[in-house]
């Protein structure tokens, strides 16, 4: 077994989630991503003489599977905007220095806003554990040596002490790698990361360039000329590229399953572990997409996915497309879309925050991985008049309540009361002429639709024009789905009441693979602390 212990010496951790956008950069990273810890070890190696044994140890470490973590719970710290002295630029002949004088009491200087994402862990120690890995000498010695040289994980104020820990010390993990049940996604190292970090940092070239820069300004005329010539010949007068490290691999992590697993809540044929994507506007006239556009979004997204899975095995193509190779519709459950909208709040307006991709419960791990690979290939949707939208995989952290799978699936405890967020499209045209009879017929149809996705028969089905969730548009506002023959399917909202709690995702009716007939638990008011946020 291999385990690293990390103690945060100030009681807080300062590191932000790597992201291009500001809101995410204000979110502290917790637990520390294994790749961040690896990079701290790599920095210790490169900054202290590059011992070859250390390098071999790091190359061994990066080839290991993702570690388990034992990380305490945490409370993110307040993010406030600090003003820090600007990084003054030296300027040149044509452009004067931007900020020359300093904020000693008598002289004022510009300051720039900056934020620091930090968090208070409940305890100050975190462990990373590789249960199967056994480092041999001299790897173990090199790792011990490297750990002792790690100064910080994250920002320079995030001082740590790191060491090789024993299994007794590390104890039971709180997060284990598990793509299937993943609740959070953490960056992990993979083979070749060390070499990639070295290439991106580009130290040799950077130092050579810097030395020439100094020589070009200094010394006698001859050395200056020589340095200038080399600068333009070897570097084209441009500083050598130096890139920020990028870790492409995210590993899903889940809480370990308790030894005595509680009674299984009845659920649907769909897996409660949604793959969540945020929808981010790239261009177009609308700031946000309404729930009414669900069919347009899902149709376009599905086409894009189908076009991207030609190299995949038949089974994966069937799951993505929902059709057999010969074009006949697949009877078994397949990939479905679950619109994640801002609903259930007094200010909710029903706009789409993102989309959850729902996969069937019965998938092998391999199939799930391959489907995830297909999903990763589509990163943008062009929706014509609705504009272009970027798809960002929601990875780790604590997203808003409406982007969390449990808000929609009630996993694992289940819920008895559900109401639709998109109307249930009818399987067939109701025949009843009488209004009461019509309601009964539709209710019966919806009850049957529940059974079709593996749910118990609901005790009650209320067919209604409006949803019980605040912010959801009434049923008549949604465009009707079309049958193959061109005729339109009728649809209605519904409230479902079950005798016992059931878990979602609840997708029912004829449009269940296209984002219609999506029901969401009716959370008792006040039961969800964060239900108030979008």
């Amino acid at each position: 077994m291999l385990a690293f212990g990390i103690r945060y010496l100030n009681g807080f951790a300062a590191a932000c989630e790597p992201h291009e956008r500001q809101p995410e950069r204000e979110r502290p990273e917790w637990p520390p991503h294994p790749a961040r810890v690896f990079m701290a070890l790599a920095a210790a190696h490169f900054q202290t003489g590059e011992d070859p044994d250390e390098r071999r140890a790091l190359e061994w470490l990066e080839s290991l599977p993702a570690p388990s973590l034992r990380a305490p719970e945490h409370v993110p710290r307040a993010v406030v905007t600090h003003y820090v002295p600007v990084n003054d630029k030296p300027g040149n002949k044509t452009k004067p220095p931007t900020a020359v004088i300093q904020s000693v009491p008598q002289l004022a200087r510009d300051r720039q806003p900056r934020t620091f994402a930090r968090t208070w862990p409940d305890e100050d120690v975190v462990y990373l554990v590789w249960p199967e890995a056994v480092p041999q000498e001299p790897v173990a010695r090199a790792l011990t040596q490297l750990c002792a040289k790690v100064t910080r994980i994250g920002h320079s104020m995030s001082l740590v002490q790191m060491w090789m820990a024993t299994s007794e010390e590390a104890g039971e993990p709180t997060w284990i790698p598990d793509e299937e049940r993943a609740e959070i996604h953490l960056r992990v190292p993979s083979a070749g990361l060390l070499a990639d970090l070295e290439r991106r940092y580009n130290q040799v070239a950077v130092e050579a360039y810097a030395a020439l820069l100094v020589a070009a300004e200094d010394g006698n005329a001859k050395t200056r000329r020589a340095a200038k010539r080399r600068l333009s010949e070897e570097f084209g007068g441009e500083p050598p590229p130096r890139l920020r490290p990028q870790v492409p691999f995210y590993q899903g992590y889940a809480r370990p399953v308790a030894a005595e697993s509680p009674k299984e809540t009845p659920g649907t044929v769909f897996s409660p572990h949604l793959v969540v994507f945020r929808l981010e506007r790239e261009s177009g006239p609308y700031q946000a997409l309404s729930l009414r556009t669900v069919a347009t979004v899902t149709t376009r997204w599905r086409e894009a996915l189908v076009s991207q899975c030609n190299d995949m095995p038949d089974r994966v193509r069937e799951i993505v497309s929902g059709h057999h190779r010969d074009g006949a519709p697949l009877e078994a459950p397949h990939l479905a879309f679950l619109p994640l909208a801002f609903v259930g709040h007094p200010h909710a307006d029903g706009h789409l925050l993102g989309m959850g991709i729902v996969l069937p419960q019965q998938l092998t791990l391999d199939e799930r991985r391959q489907v995830l690979r297909v999903l990763a290939r589509v990163s943008q949707l062009r929706l014509g008049a609705l504009g272009a939208w970027r798809l960002d995989r929601e990875a780790g952290g604590r997203p808003p309540w409406n982007l969390r799978p449990e808000a929609w699936t009630a996993h694992p405890d289940g819920a008895t009361h559900w109401s639709t967020v998109t109307p249930v499209a009818f399987d067939r045209h109701p025949k009843a002429k009488d209004r009461g009879e019509y309601q009964r017929e539709v209710a019966e149809m919806i009850a049957a639709a529940c059974a079709a996705v593996g749910l118990p028969r609901p005790r009650e089905v209320v067919v209604t024009a409006v949803s019980a969730h605040l912010g959801v548009p009434p049923a008549h506002v949604f465009p009707r789905l079309a049958r193959k023959d061109g005729s339109e399917r009728r649809h209605a909202h519904a409230i479902l009441v079950f005798d016992e709690p059931v878990r979602g995702p609840v997708l029912i009716g004829a449009g269940r693979y296209r984002g219609y007939g999506v029901a969401r638990p009716m959370w008792p008011s006040g039961s969800q602390g964060e239900g108030g946020k979008s």
Partner: protein
């Protein structure tokens, strides 16, 4: 409790211990329950946050009372005061503006290009970017721009593996961090991470009464009666007839209004201070960071015993800065004076689980510790100049400072605020 000795310090630096850490409890000087005023951040907000504390149900409301950056400045200030008082001698770079200080004769000052307000001497302990600061860059050593002088040039080759030049010129940069982003190498310049982190957090916060006005004018001056100030703002007359004046608040008259929303806390009405149960200050000096620094001498490869001697000096300097700052008192800002709840104890953090060794340290002992560590370092041949390197500001820098002061004075006049 044992006083920290130079032997203990040296063996800690040499050994595997992670850090010296001091965690102390502070109470408002007016006693528990007395209001304190936390710093406000952009948008006039306090950094109010939740934290779980062992032994308590649910998260406890906390507030940031002094940030990491501010604490670093306070420690440097404490060192500066000790230097000024002749209590310690440390390598310093000083920019001497005294010959440009105003004499009081405005016309003569203007002719001579002297400053409007006195600047005096600015040291590498006061400027924000430490040794890499622009104020130093635009100053001269014996008529040569600082970064082109022999001492300044040494900065071009410093790195954690060659920290000797920085040890000689500005050892505090090795403790509090520095990035030479403006030297000839630009962003590729030397980077040192901080080894000291300190912060003060108030625990058990109650936000103050929100219904109080910020300033009540006894005259009851109305905003609807306008005034016309004289040019120099020493007098005014009430605007009458067609003349439209400015609101009297421009002259500092009239009440400052109540917050608009008083029934709940908003981002706008956090002005009124908070009460806290106690404040907690955590100061950490990472020995791991110091161990990354190497100190080669005279172009030779670094030697272990020289490295240990130099790191011991830096550790002693860090402890000295923190202890002197503690003794200067935590008078953080107006109406935020805190007082320690007990003696100051430093823990030497070895491996987690192991009981840390504990030491007491007073300002005097810390200074003695630094002196002894410096003596031993000098014996090993490490440079520790007792006299500061004195730079003269370049002509253009003086001119810039002078014009900036004039601009600042104009702005003060316009807004009626004090700078």
């Amino acid at each position: 409790m044992e006083q920290l000795s130079v032997e203990v310090l040296k063996s800690a630096v040499k050994g595997a211990a992670a850090a010296f850490r001091c965690r102390r409890r502070l109470l408002p000087a007016g006693g528990p329950g007395e209001k304190v005023f936390p710093p406000t951040f952009a948008g006039a907000v306090y950094a109010i946050e939740q934290r779980r504390i062992p032994g308590r149900d649910g998260p406890v409301t906390c507030v940031l009372l002094d940030s990491v950056q501010s604490q670093a400045n306070r420690m440097e200030l404490a060192l500066q005061e000790a230097v000024d008082a002749g209590r310690i001698r440390i390598p310093l770079v000083v920019v001497d503006f005294t010959e440009y200080d105003p004499t009081g004769d405005l016309e003569a000052d203007e002719r001579a290009g002297r400053l409007i307000d006195r600047v005096g001497k600015i040291t590498s302990l006061q400027v924000p970017h430490r040794l890499a600061d622009a104020t130093l860059r635009y100053s001269e050593l014996d008529g040569v721009p600082f970064r082109k002088s022999d001492k300044g040039k040494a900065l071009n080759t410093v790195s954690p593996t060659n920290a000797t030049p920085l040890f000689e010129l500005c050892p505090t940069a090795l403790l509090f961090g520095m990035w030479d982003s403006t030297g000839p190498k630009g962003g590729l310049g030397a980077k040192f991470e901080r080894a000291m982190v300190s912060e003060i957090v108030g625990v058990g916060v109650e936000v103050g009464d929100l219904r109080r006005g910020v300033r009540r004018d006894p005259l009851g001056t109305s905003r609807d009666v306008t005034v016309i100030p004289s040019e120099d703002r020493t007098e005014f007359r009430v605007a009458e007839g067609r003349n439209r004046g400015v609101r009297p608040s421009k002259l500092g008259l009239a009440s400052v209004p109540f917050p608009k929303q008083t029934d709940q806390k908003t981002r706008e009405n956090y002005y009124d201070g908070v009460t806290i149960e106690y404040a907690e200050q955590t100061t950490t000096l990472s020995l791991i960071c110091l161990r990354r620094l190497r100190f080669p001498l005279n172009g030779q490869p670094p030697q272990d015993e020289v490295d240990v001697a130099a790191r011991t000096v830096l550790a002693a300097l860090g402890l000295c800065a923190a202890t002197l700052a503690f003794e200067a008192g935590a008078d953080l800002r107006s109406r935020c004076l805190l007082w320690p709840d007990g003696p100051t104890v430093w823990e030497l953090l070895a491996r987690p689980g192991a009981e840390p060794e504990r030491f007491s340290l007073t300002g005097e002992t810390a200074i003695a510790l630094l002196k002894e560590a410096v003596r031993q370092a000098k014996e090993k041949g490490l440079p520790w100049p007792d006299e500061p390197v004195v730079l003269k500001p370049s002509e253009e820098l003086v001119k810039l400072a002078r014009l900036s002061q004039i601009e600042a004075a104009k702005k003060t006049g316009e807004t009626g605020e004090t700078a």
